[in-house]
Structures are given as structure tokens and as C-alpha cells.
Amino acid sequence: MTAVIEARGLGKRYGRRWALADCTLAVPAGRVVGLVGPNGAGKTTLLQLAAGLLAPTSGAITVLGHHPGGSPAQLSRVGFVAQDSPLYAGLSVAGHLRMGAWLNPGWDTEYAARRIRQLGLDLRQRAGSLSGGQRAQLALILAAAKRPELLLLDEPVASLDPLARREFLQGLMETVAEHGASVVLSSHLIADVERVCDFLIVLTASHVRAAGETEALLASHHRLSGPYRDPGTLPASWEVIEESHTGKQSVLLVRTDDPVLDPAWTDRPVSLEDLILAYLRQPGSGTGAGRPGLEVAS
């Protein structure tokens, strides 16, 4: 399976602060990837590195097998929508479409026109006077109409109302179904991620905490509850994401590929939301492996 994005030890530093550190992952093609994490976790940095807007401080990244943003051909294969959907405020919708057609060799005029019609956008209206949802939709059209193999979207729905959000995701999924592009979508709205994403990257405090197919992640995480167990006696192959111990009971969120055979544990499936939240709650230091400190049951 070819990887659309491959990173090894990727890092980006501003001054003394590492916005992204030690990022190693391989994102397979044909997926809708959810990049989740709190604000300031490094999602924007990772996306901009993949789009070629930033240069790495350490490590390496390839997108579709090549240097991000390294050539017009590469730029045409990757669509990017930055946070808050930047558009030229004084330029009309039609002007933006003309820009897309002039600057992108693979521009699909028919697709763009159809989407504009579907959305009911006025071609003569200036982009500065569009609503937030309309701006996000237009920015998506500009990125998608050049028929990229990969779409990178930085929190495209963060500032939209629920209806606009839903409509944006509908449009995005329709585009994916039509063009077959891979998508990397950063968001801090877990409900949206649950709905559309089949591959997940969890990013907190500049580090990747988890990355994998959603189904595989859900299958490999277990919420275990049972009588109190000393953390030191747990199997070594278990990666404890979250644990809480009262005097009598232990509740763990554990990641393991081995089946949980010990009958003392009650094994409940984990929802995607619980899984993500558990990673988000982890203390921020360290490289991810190993057990975090004891957490008192909240």
C-alpha cells in the first residue's frame, strides 16, 4: 500500500519551542484521516509541513513520494485549505475560480461550476462578504477542483455553525467519493472525526500519541475493569493509556494486540471518543511509550 504521507523523525522548531517533535508515521492512500488534538498540539504545523509551506527543522517528510511543494506537479497533486479558509476578500467568487483555472493545470471547470451551483453561491459576490460556511465551501472547491490526490484541511469547520459544518462534510465526502482523493482533516471536534474518518492520528503536546486505522485502534484498545491490581503486575505487552485505582477496583484503558484472557478483567469496547479523550488526557511529556503516572478516578 502506498503511503500518501510518510514522516520520519519529523520536527519543527520555532526558537526554543518544538511545535512538532519526533513525528514518525505513514498514512496509507485512499483514507479520510482525522488529525485530532487540542489547540497548539502541532496539527497545523504537520499539515503545513505536508503542504510545503514550512520546512522541517529535523527529520524528513515525503508526500505522494516526493518533496512537499517541490514542483508545480507536486503542488497540483496536493490541495490545501488553511485554517479560516483564506480567500482574497476583494476578489469575487468567479475571480477565485478563474485563479484556480489559470494557476492549476488539472482544473476541472465543470466540477467547480456544479459545486458552486449546488451551493447557490453568487459568482459576482466578493469573497469578503461570504458567510463563514460559504468561505469554507469555496476554499474547499478551490482545493478540490484541481483534482488532487491528497487534500489537506486545517480545521475547516472549526468556526462554523452545526448546519454549515454538516454541509461542508457532505460536500467533502461527495468530492472524495467522486474523485477518490485521500484526505487529512484536522479537527478538535471528535463527533465529526467519528463520522467521516477511517484513519486516526492523535497529536498532543507536539507528539504523535497514536496513529492507525480507526477500526484497528478500536479493536486494540480495551477498557478493563476488575479488582485492584498493582500496576507493576500488568503484562508487559500492555500499554496503559489511562488508569485509575481505588482501594478495591482498577479501571484501565489499555492498548494491546494480544487478546485479554484474564477472566478477572471485564473487557468493554472503547468508543472512539473515549479513546481520543484518554490520549488527550495523558500527561504531555515523554515519547509516548511507557506508563503515565497514576490518575485518580475523576
Binding site: M173, V176, R195
Partner: protein, 130 residues
């Protein structure tokens, strides 16, 4: 054409919900052999879900032998579910109605009836709900 719904709170995987809805439609006669299922594009335009989910559901249905995908044309129903004979359905509907009538006259309320029904179903289908 069938219109899919999504239940986000049940915890059931999306693709399973789609498969289930096709099964239900086949059983109720809303879908018949020769009918075309909506394209992945149409489904996701309505539901805003991952197209792969739709394709996965259709692949499952194809594996069950209920549908067949024709390249360039779409996915079509090729047979109905076994045991969906409307005569059989009507017969059991009549039997169930009689049973409920006697249950109500024995003093059982709707909650009781539902609890009894669920227990009976669970006991009857040892592998879980079909």
C-alpha cells in the same frame, strides 16, 4: 430508492447499520431484485460519512449474495432475503396479533410484553439478534 439513516448514538458501526437497513428493506419488500442501490456519492452527500463505509457495506452485501455491482452502472439487488415470503409474514403477523390480544386481556401492559418479547428473542437466536 432506499434512503439510508444514520444512528450515531447506538454504538453500532456505520457500515453494519447500512447493511441492516438493506436487509430490513428487502424483508419489507421495499427493495426488490433489480432495484438500484444509491451510489456511494449519493449516500455520502446526504449522510456525510466516509465513502469507504458505503463501499464496505455494499461489499458485505455482495458477499452475502444479495447485491451485485455492475461497473459503470451501479449496485443492484439480485435476490431477496430468504424467508421474506409475504404470505408467511402475513400468517405470522396474524398469529402474533392473536397472541398479543390474549396477552393484553391477561393484564400484561406494553412494557411487560416488550420484556417478554426481548427475552424470547434472545433465547431463541442464540447467536444474537439477526
Amino acid at each position: 430508492m432506499i434512503e439510508f439513516q444514520l444512528d450515531t448514538v447506538s454504538g453500532v458501526a456505520t457500515y453494519l447499520q447500512l447493511v441492516q437497513q438493506v436487509h430490513d428493506a428487502l424483508r419489507l419488500g421495499l427493495l426488490e431484485p433489480g432495484d438500484k442501490l444509491p451510489t456511494a456519492q449519493q449516500v455520502v452527500a446526504k449522510l456525510a460519512i466516509n465513502p469507504n463505509t458505503v463501499l464496505k457495506a455494499y461489499r458485505d452485501l455482495e458477499r452475502e449474495g444479495l447485491v451485485r455491482g455492475r461497473p459503470g452502472q451501479g449496485t443492484f439487488v439480485i435476490r431477496s432475503l430468504p424467508g421474506t415470503d409475504p404470505v408467511t409474514q402475513r400468517r405470522f403477523l396474524a398469529a402474533m396479533t392473536d397472541l398479543l390480544r390474549s396477552a393484553r386481556s391477561a393484564g400484561l401492559g406494553p412494557d411487560d410484553i416488550e420484556a417478554i418479547y426481548r427475552t424470547a428473542v434472545r433465547g431463541s437466536f442464540a447467536e444474537g439478534v439477526a
